[in-house]
């Protein structure tokens, strides 16, 4: 790992809940990730930052078991994912809640059916019990019961994200993944989502992995920040993870790639673009 990488603030003795070991991902001829290693510790909120296309969402999907690496190993609770049977994978994946970038609500279902989906598929709860859980989750994310009958197409961006969060929380997960939770939202709604992430963390003691470009989100929710750099711009022999440490230290980083990103300064990139 690069010398500019900072040490994590959490105790190194805590066993990682999720772990990537020397993972590379290629889609056909396109290389997205190369030899990256990331740990997520129990109870922490890890925030993944980096330029668009650097592989943040792919990293999150690898951690959640939604993608398989081309090379390297993904571990959950210290055990390789590949060593799990299909039944074990199914059981262990239910410990995760996932808020997708565009919420990924099922178009063919209304809000109630979306939030109830995991419960219906994986539990033997009665309809009345499922209804109670769904309504509780909707209240938890600040949505009125009347929303339950609406279709995803009738919802605003912020409401979709909150329904997506309610759906992710319906099965009471231990780990919650948030893929760009505030992207495309107005500043007030972004703050609402950030608050919900914090409240979820406080009330449920979950482990969280957040992918974001929003530095307010980074400041508010991150225990630890990992920054990825696009593989196309990584110099040969250099690591793709260019920062790992606290949010505060990221803003003080001497690595111009990190500091210019967290401050939102185009600087050298602009010159490169014009030169190209």
């Amino acid at each position: 790992m690069n010398s500019s990488v900072k040490s994590p603030t959490l105790p190194a003795t805590a066993a990682p809940v999720l772990e990537l070991r020397g993972v590379s991902v290629e889609f056909g001829s396109q290389k997205v990730l190369q030899d990256i290693s990331v740990n997520v510790h129990r109870g922490e909120t890890l925030v993944l930052i980096g330029e668009s296309g650097c592989g943040k969402s792919v990293t999150t999907k690898l951690l959640a078991g939604l993608l398989e690496p081309t090379r390297g190993e993904v571990r959950w609770d210290g055990r390789p994912v590949r060593s799990r049977s299909a039944r074990e994978m199914h059981r262990d994946r239910l410990r995760f809640g996932y808020l997708f970038q565009g919420a990924a609500l099922f178009d063919s279902m209304n809000v109630f059916e979306n939030v109830a989906f995991g419960l219906r598929e994986n539990t033997t709860l009665k309809d009345s019990q499922i209804r109670d859980v769904v309504m509780e989750r909707l209240r938890e994310v600040g949505l009125a019961e009347a929303v339950a009958e609406k279709r995803p197409s009738d919802l605003s961006g912020g409401m979709k994200k909150r329904v997506g969060l309610a759906r992710a929380l319906a099965m009471s997960p231990d780990v919650v993944f948030y893929d760009e939770p505030t992207t495309g939202l107005d500043p007030v709604m972004s703050d609402v989502i950030n608050e919900l992430i914090l409240q979820t963390q406080l009330n449920r003691k979950v482990t969280s992995v957040v992918v974001t470009h929003d530095m307010n989100t980074v400041r508010r929710v991150a225990d630890r920040v990992v920054m990825l750099y696009p593989l196309s711009r990584v110099a040969p022999g250099q690591p793709q993870v260019i920062y790992e440490g606290t949010a505060e230290l990221a803003f003080e980083s001497e690595d111009v790639r990190v500091s210019s990103f967290v401050r939102g300064e185009a600087g050298a990139r602009l010159k490169e673009m014009y030169a190209a």
Binding site: K61, A64, L66, H90, R93, L94, F96, G97, Y98, F100, Q101, G102, A104, L105, F106, D107, F117, G118, E121, N122, R167, A168, M171
Partner: protein, 278 residues
């Protein structure tokens, strides 16, 4: 491969080689997808609240278009064949020509083609959109197997309901043929049905229905496969729908030829064994 080879323009042999390789890869991938679907089918049957809406979409909502197609094809066949048969004073046999064509070939193939157009394209587009908008990942994240949840119900619906749709196409085609031949062109009602009855065997009907089941399976697998491998954006979804129809149509024609040869051999074997009722 050396850089010099990659740098040169591909020769026709390279191009053919690449096309053949891609074709073999595509067939292999499709076969794997079929086995995954059959595995999902053996694992657990879809829940009724998932299966019934798909059955309704594939079966009930396809009836009007298949009925209209069957009806008009029967009528057109009657118009087209009447003059030729009349030249040889064989117009009374028009029922056998129309109805044998319908039951053995046109009914199954037309029903399958309409299903590929109406249902297959919609399936590819729907699943493709789900892929593009990460809804398939969401299914996995929520503990559902996308193959079992999306593909198995569609496979079952197409496989089980296409025989009914084929029989509807056959029936409406016969009615259309009768309408034109008997009511408009003055062919004897008695001979129309007499020759139909003499020339159509139970085996023809059964083989037509059996062929349609293979067509239905192929349509659903190809459509879902294209949806699952959809490219990004609206263009990717559109291409998945188009590819689904083109590949399904080719598959229907190829399967038709293979199954006709196979079923004819089965018929000869059964006839030799004395199953004369067929």
């Amino acid at each position: 491969m050396s850089a010099s080879l990659l740098d040169t323009d591909p020769t026709p042999i390279h191009t053919v080689g690449r096309l053949v390789t891609n074709f073999i890869i595509a067939i292999g991938d499709l076969t794997r997808f079929l086995f995954l679907t059959l595995g999902g089918l053996l694992g657990q049957l879809p829940r009724s609240r998932v299966l019934w809406p798909v059955m309704y979409e594939v079966g009930v909502r396809s009836v009007p278009v298949i009925a209209v197609t069957g009806l008009f094809i029967g009528m057109v066949l009657a118009v087209q064949t009447y003059d030729t048969l009349r030249m040889y004073r064989l117009e009374s046999r028009i029922g056998s020509v129309i109805n044998v064509s319908l039951v053995k070939e046109l009914g199954p193939v037309l029903a399958a083609t309409m299903l590929a157009g109406r249902v297959g394209c919609a399936m590819a587009a729907e699943i493709g959109t789900m892929r593009v908008t990460e809804q398939i990942d969401a299914l996995k994240a929520l503990g559902a197997n996308p193959i079992s949840y999306l593909v198995v119900p569609r496979f079952l619906a197409c496989f089980c309901l296409i025989p009914a749709l084929t029989l509807i196409a056959d029936g409406l085609g016969m009615f259309g043929g009768w309408l034109v031949s008997v009511q408009m062109l003055g062919v004897s009602d008695h001979f129309f049905w007499l020759y139909s009855q003499q020339f159509i065997t139970a085996f023809d009907v059964v083989s037509g229905v059996m062929k349609s089941m293979f067509f239905g399976a192929a349509i659903s697998i190809i459509a879902c496969h294209r949806g699952f491998h959809c490219g990004s954006g609206a263009e990717g979804v559109g291409r998945a729908a188009t590819d689904s129809f083109v590949c399904s149509f080719i598959a229907i024609l190829v399967l038709d030829l293979v199954l006709v040869i196979l079923l004819n051999n089965v018929y000869r074997l059964l006839w030799a064994l004395g199953f004369t009722v067929l």
